[in-house]
């Protein structure tokens, strides 16, 4: 097992004592198969118990270990040390307020996510005895990719538009709304449109595309947003030029 000494620079912030964040460097003996999260755990266990960061699954599923690694939004549990030089800088996710060390305040994202009603709103109510809502593989394929989102918020950290205009609903929330809109069993599109087709919704997006480049689950939120724009534009034309056509 090969070991390498890594200088891990971590942005620290203690709201009780610090007026602004500062960098602290830890020298960490890293194994070849380690990810950045392992290095942080090493620090926490052996060098500095006060270091705060979030994680849970260590397998790119829970979405809680998102942070900036050398300036890029990454999952710390998916960022292999061997792909980096001897010095690695770790900072809290960009575009979010820093709560403490690598922990960010995520209330804004949670509220936005809830606002798009990211759950199935069935077209018609059916008693349980009537059986399940069926779906063909083709119908499933239509939205499958958007179900892979793990709410890690890397896309928000990559999105300059979210950084500049904090009201923007942002990539993952709209991609999830799109996921349910695309679902053959769902009838909630009109309710979601009010939120996602608004100015703070898709129209704040200028298609930088950074969200899709950093998404660890290949959700392609940028694609979802452009599709919502196109669908909303078609809605508008139907409503204003062909009011007799039902949506």
């Amino acid at each position: 097992m090969s070991e390498r000494q890594i200088q891990l620079e971590v942005l620290r912030y203690n709201p009780e004592t610090d007026s602004e964040p500062r960098l602290q460097t830890y020298s960490v003996p890293c194994l070849n198969e380690w990810v950045v999260l392992d290095a942080l755990n090493y620090v926490k266990d052996n060098l500095d118990t006060t270091l705060s960061y979030r994680w849970s699954c260590h397998m790119a599923v829970c979405g809680s270990c998102g942070m900036m690694i050398n300036g890029e939004p990454k999952l710390a549990c998916k960022a292999f040390i061997r792909e980096y030089a001897d010095q690695i800088r770790v900072e809290p996710l960009a575009n979010f307020p820093i709560e403490r060390d690598l922990v960010t305040a995520v209330e804004d994202f949670i509220a936005k996510l809830a606002s798009v009603k990211p759950y199935l709103i069935p077209k018609e109510d059916k008693p349980i005895e009537a059986g399940e809502f069926k779906q063909t593989p083709t119908e499933l394929k239509k939205y499958k990719q958007y179900t892979l989102c793990i709410n890690c918020m890397l896309c928000y950290a990559a999105c300059p538009q979210y950084g500049l205009v904090p009201e923007f609903l942002g990539p993952a929330a709209i991609a999830l709304a799109h996921r349910y809109n695309q679902d053959s069993r769902d009838g909630g599109r009109d309710q979601r449109q009010e939120v996602i087709a608004s100015h703070e919704g898709v129209w704040e997006c200028s298609f930088v595309g950074a969200c899709s480049e950093v998404c660890p689950k290949h959700v392609d939120p940028a694609g979802a947003l452009q599709q919502v724009k196109i669908a909303s534009t078609i809605d508008w034309y139907k409503e204003h030029l062909m009011p007799w056509v039902k949506k």
């Binding site: 912030y13 709201p15 009780e16 610090d18 602004e20 964040p21 960009a94 575009n95 307020p97 820093i98 709560e99 403490r100 922990v103 305040a105 209330e107 949670i110 509220a111 593989p137 083709t138 394929k141 239509k142 990559a158 300059p160 950084g163 500049l164 200028s206 298609f207 930088v208 595309g209 950074a210 899709s212 480049e213 392609d220 940028a222 694609g223 452009q226 599709q227 724009k229 196109i230």
Partner: protein, 132 residues
């Protein structure tokens, strides 16, 4: 939303004017957006051409001469480069915005991009035929 852990989360300010600077990903986006200026500039050239045409043969000849000057050629070359970059960068994004599902599979992105180049070629040929 839940109890905040700290009373003063730290907010990192972003520069409103040069946020894209030095970030290759954002710089590429800016290049795609900024090259639309070339299209804008070329429309002015077309308006100028129409005006020259309306002002009679002499004015039109003067316009043609200006076009053939080194400056005119340089302008056209710059516009060509800008417009080609703009178009290519947008075409490459089309599969994301307009995915096509056939049965259980999505049509490969390259086919969608290719169709756009095909359309571009057809329109260019029509313009060429109208011109000669």
């Amino acid at each position: 939303m839940g109890e905040e852990m700290s009373s003063k989360p730290y907010i990192r300010e972003i520069s409103k004017t040069n946020w894209f600077y030095g970030q290759p990903r954002y710089m590429r986006y800016m290049a795609r957006e900024v090259t639309c200026i070339f299209i804008f500039a070329y429309t002015f050239l077309l308006i100028w051409a129409l005006r020259a045409l309306a002002n009679g043969p002499e004015a039109y000849q003067a316009f043609l001469a200006a076009l053939n000057s080194p400056l005119g050629i340089l302008f056209n070359l710059a516009v060509l480069v800008g417009v080609v970059y703009h178009s290519i960068s947008w075409f490459s994004l089309t599969p994301q915005a307009m995915p096509l599902q056939r049965g259980e599979e999505f049509v490969p992105g390259n086919l969608i991009i290719g169709a756009h180049y095909g359309g571009w070629a057809v329109v260019s040929l029509i313009v060429l035929f109208l011109g000669v």
